[in-house]
Amino acid sequence: MSLFWLFALSGSGLFILGLLATAFRTRALEKLIALNIAGSGVFLFFVALAGRSDPPDPVLQAMVLTGIVVSVALTGLGALLIRRQMTEGGGDDG
Amino acid sequence: MIASLLPLWILLTSLVGGLIIFALREGAVWPRTFVNLAAAVVKIILVGWMVYGVYHGEDFAIGYELLPGIDLAFRADAFSVLFLVLSAILWLITTIYAVGYLEHAQNRRRFFGFFSLCVTATMGIALSANLLTFLFFYELLTLATYPLIAHRGTAASQRGARIYLAYTLFGGALALVGTAWLYVLTGGVDFTTGGALSEGVIASHGAALMVIFALLFFGFGVKAAIVPFHGWLPVAMIAPAPVSALLHAVAVVKAGAFGVVRLVYDVYGIVPSFEMGLLTLVGIVAAVTILYGSFLALFQDELKKRLAYSTISQVSYILLGTALFGPMGTVGGVVHLVHQGIMKITLFFAAGNIAETLHIHRISQMQGIGRRMPLTMAAFSVGAFGMIGFPLVAGFATKWYLGLGAIEAEAYWVLGVLALSTLLNAAYFLPILYKAWFQKPPKGVQRPHQGLESSGWLLWPTVITALLSVAAGVFAGADHAPVYWAMIVARLEYGGLL
């Protein structure tokens, strides 16, 4: 089995499982974590795609770098919102 | 330039008037009254100009492209002129009446503002040159009337307005679908004397055209209060008297009836309508409505309610005339648009005056009222006799031509409907008159204070419309009487056939 194929496959798997977990978990924090992992799945898929050629496709790698930064921005904002929900009483289910 | 834009000026007089009224402060009674009356007078002058022009064959047509190939277009023909004159004159009179009626009411700015918008919409309906424009103003009329019916802000008036809105918006939706469908089939429907549908369209889309006719007929019929879509009218009675008067005489029910007449004559054409059997539908619905409305009117003790059911019945005379294939029927139907208007507004003015002056709302309280308010009751009696079809009052001319039309179309059952309806009319109006004139007032009730029996603002409009009703009856055969113009309409519509 080709290395990139293996990683592309796991990337897709992580993406879809992550989305499913996002849908099925009820606490916002756990949803956020699941989305993070789903995002990593997408990036893994991208880098595997980049690695098909030699040298690896820098466009896809650059896209992943961009994606990671966007991801941390969303995660940071999400984390703050979740924290605020909790500190203002009650749970964060929703 | 000014003359060619005349339809626009006619619309703008009441529109701008209304907007100025909205902009004025609530307390500015006299400026508001001035603007209101000035707009109404200017409108009458402009309409008079238009009547003159139309009579001399001038073509007032303007359009504005809303969508590619779809215009908002205005045009004046004999039929629109008839409706225009009625609306313009009755607007002035009703405005005078309303100023008096609402002297101590709240939110008068809102009332008169929407009143003007309502008239604008009616004028737009009269001047529409195509089906889309008609629909445009038809919906506007719905919206402008809503605040008027809800004006008092009580739970009951809210309810009445809500029911009115539910019915009319439903009708509007039917008409919208019908109109869009017809536009798809034909590419556009300009009101055309003798019918706007080409023979090819009629030949290839027969079934679709029947459905469209039903959609449009019932869509417009909701406002004309045909059975089974009449339910809104009695509950809308909760509105202030001038509104009821305008609603019943000019604006709402007439808009519906006007639409049906346009639909039959200027969209489908009288001959195709007849050949497709559509007139039968109209005729049956009209006959049922006439009898049903009159029948229910018998059981109403509240004066305004009885008048409301009477309206349901009377408006359908217009439809009945339309359903008769023959020029005489047409004359009867079209002329009733005017005749019913002036007679019914007289009745409502009188009822409103009685309610306002003596706080009497029920027929059972009306004993001897003729002695206390002789002029008002005299006017009421004129209206009532007219409705019954008494000679010398306008209503007689209607029934006369409808009868002729029935004979001409060999629809003898219509004569039966007319006779039965006349009996019913007499049965629900004459007891009122008897009570008012021949019974003694209950003990302890004083005549109103010396001088006029009520406020002049309320009294004179009532008297004037009563006189107009008599004039329309007495001079029915004269040049430029409503009957004369109705004949012009009939002559045009049956052009080749006469």
Partner: protein, 477 residues
């Protein structure tokens, strides 16, 4: 000379102003008005050249597929112009609203709002799928943060759900972009239009992107995040979110559909049917709601359904109707949310019971709202009426009677839920005391209502002039 820079300037100006606005809350509104003025001028001076050709800007001088190209065509211009107009109204309202309430959210509002505008402008001109992803993220981050500005627990919770939904959607979109890039080696939609085939991976990518954009555009049943987020936000923010933020995703969907000729009638039909379901479901929910902000928020779900009908109905007329609906909705919905904000200020409540009788305190607001409501209910004279007329005609022409029924019922539903608000506002409550929302706030609503009405006269001609049919037929070159 300036014209070829217009595409990126429209993004640069708001974003730079946003960065500066972070430094001073006091100067922020003025920076926003400077941005509005400059963008307006840019749009005006681009109008003339656009009648001849598409304005293209090659970023960094690197043509596609190496670099990113920006395309400003007539469809983009219309979206930009309407966003500008709606945005200017929202800015005006926000300025007066914050001034009269002194709400603490003002500290964060202007930079984020400018950021949202910058993101939307970037989206409307971008010709590169990955660049569009980044633009969507700018919009998403700003929209979520704006939604949270109310700082109430409900608002924070709603914003969290909004964030999760938009995050998931972004990932799906990104995955789709990656697959397309892997297949065709480019992300420029003009090149893709020439390369794309209806092959399985491309369809998968298209499916992912459509689903993602449907979430962001709040298409039923993926609208779950919208009603709460739009109903709990501050009034100016609700207007921004409902009128503008979701339009970007819809535009992108339409653009992809046009440019990539996203094939197969099945997804298109599916979108159309979901749109029809949205009209009925959103209308029903709005009718049942007691909170007027929720009514208007659900109305957004319903009204967005009309946009999606065009995918199923098809044809130039439906496209014109759909976009006219989009444009009318921008103005009308913003105006309605302004009005709700004013009513809430006047009555101190956003429930139907609470606003009883408020007509006395806010006549201007109610009058303006009524004009906007016409458009939402599809009644004349309004852009909404013309839009629904076009949709109705095209549905009849295509023999799609179920859509005709949906259009008719949808119109009645929207009239019903909107009139509910007016009915309660008009119930006389002589003993009740109201606050004065301030005359300026009322005038903004009136202005919005007036523009909404004006669309009923000029809207039809403008969409015809912009000739969307040429685009929908795949006229990419």
């Amino acid at each position: 000379m300036m014209v070829e820079h217009t595409p990126w300037l429209l993004t640069a100006v708001p974003l730079l102003m946003a960065a500066f606005a972070m430094l001073s809350a006091r100067l922020a509104p003025y920076l926003a008005s400077v941005s509005t003025l400059i963008c307006g001028t840019l749009l005006l001076q681009a109008l003339e050249p656009l009648s001849q050709e598409t304005i293209i800007h090659t970023l960094g001088g690197h043509a596609a597929p190496l670099g990113i190209e920006l395309y400003l065509d007539r469809l983009s211009w219309m979206m930009l112009a309407l966003t500008w107009l709606g945005g200017a109204l929202c800015s005006l309202y926000a300025f007066f609203w914050f001034r009269s309430t002194g709400h603490a959210g003002v500290a964060g509002f202007w930079p984020l709002w400018l950021g949202l505008i910058g993101g939307m402008n970037a989206l409307f001109v971008s010709g590169d799928l990955f660049n569009l992803y980044v633009a969507l993220e700018v919009i998403g981050i700003c929209a979520v943060s704006l939604a949270a500005l109310a700082q109430s627990r409900e608002a924070i919770r709603a914003a969290t759900n909004y964030l999760l939904a938009t995050y998931a959607a972004s990932l799906a979109y990104l995955f789709g972009v990656g697959i397309l890039y892997g297949l065709y080696g480019t992300m420029d939609w003009r090149l893709l239009a020439t390369l794309a085939q209806p092959e399985a991976p491309a369809l998968l990518a298209a499916g992912l992107m459509i689903a993602a954009l449907a979430i962001k555009a709040a298409l039923f049943p993926l609208h779950f995040w919208l009603p709460s987020a739009h109903a709990t936000a501050l009034p100016p923010v609700s207007a921004i979110l409902s009128a503008l933020a979701i339009k970007g995703a819809f535009y992108l969907l339409a653009r992809l559909y046009i440019q990539l000729e996203m094939p197969g009638s099945l997804p298109a039909l599916l979108l159309g049917y979901l749109g029809a379901a949205a009209i009925l479901y959103g209308g029903y929910q709005a009718l049942m709601a007691h909170n007027i902000k929720r009514i208007i928020a659900y109305s957004t779900v319903a009204q967005s359904g009309y946009f999606f009908l065009i995918f199923a109905i098809g044809g130039a007329m439906a496209w014109q109707g759909g976009f006219l609906q989009l444009y009318s909705h921008i103005i009308a919905k913003a105006t309605l949310f302004f009005a709700v904000g004013n009513l809430a200020l006047a009555a101190g409540s956003v429930t139907l019971e609470g606003i009883k009788g408020v007509a006395r305190a806010a006549p201007l607001t109610l009058f303006g709202a009524a004009m906007a409501a016409l458009s939402i209910a599809g009644l004349p004279p309004s852009g909404g009426f013309l839009a629904k007329w076009l949709l109705l005609q095209s549905a009849i022409e295509g023999g799609a009677w179920h859509f005709v029924a949906v259009l008719a019922i949808g119109g009645l539903l929207s009239a019903a839920y909107l009139f509910k608000i007016f009915r309660y506002a008009l119930i006389e409550q002589p003993e009740k005391r109201f606050n004065d929302p301030g005359v300026w706030l009322g005038w903004v609503v009136l202005l919005g209502g007036f523009i909404s009405l004006l669309f009923g006269f000029v809207g039809g001609q403008s969409v015809a002039w912009f000739d969307l049919s040429a685009l929908s037929l795949g006229g990419a070159s």
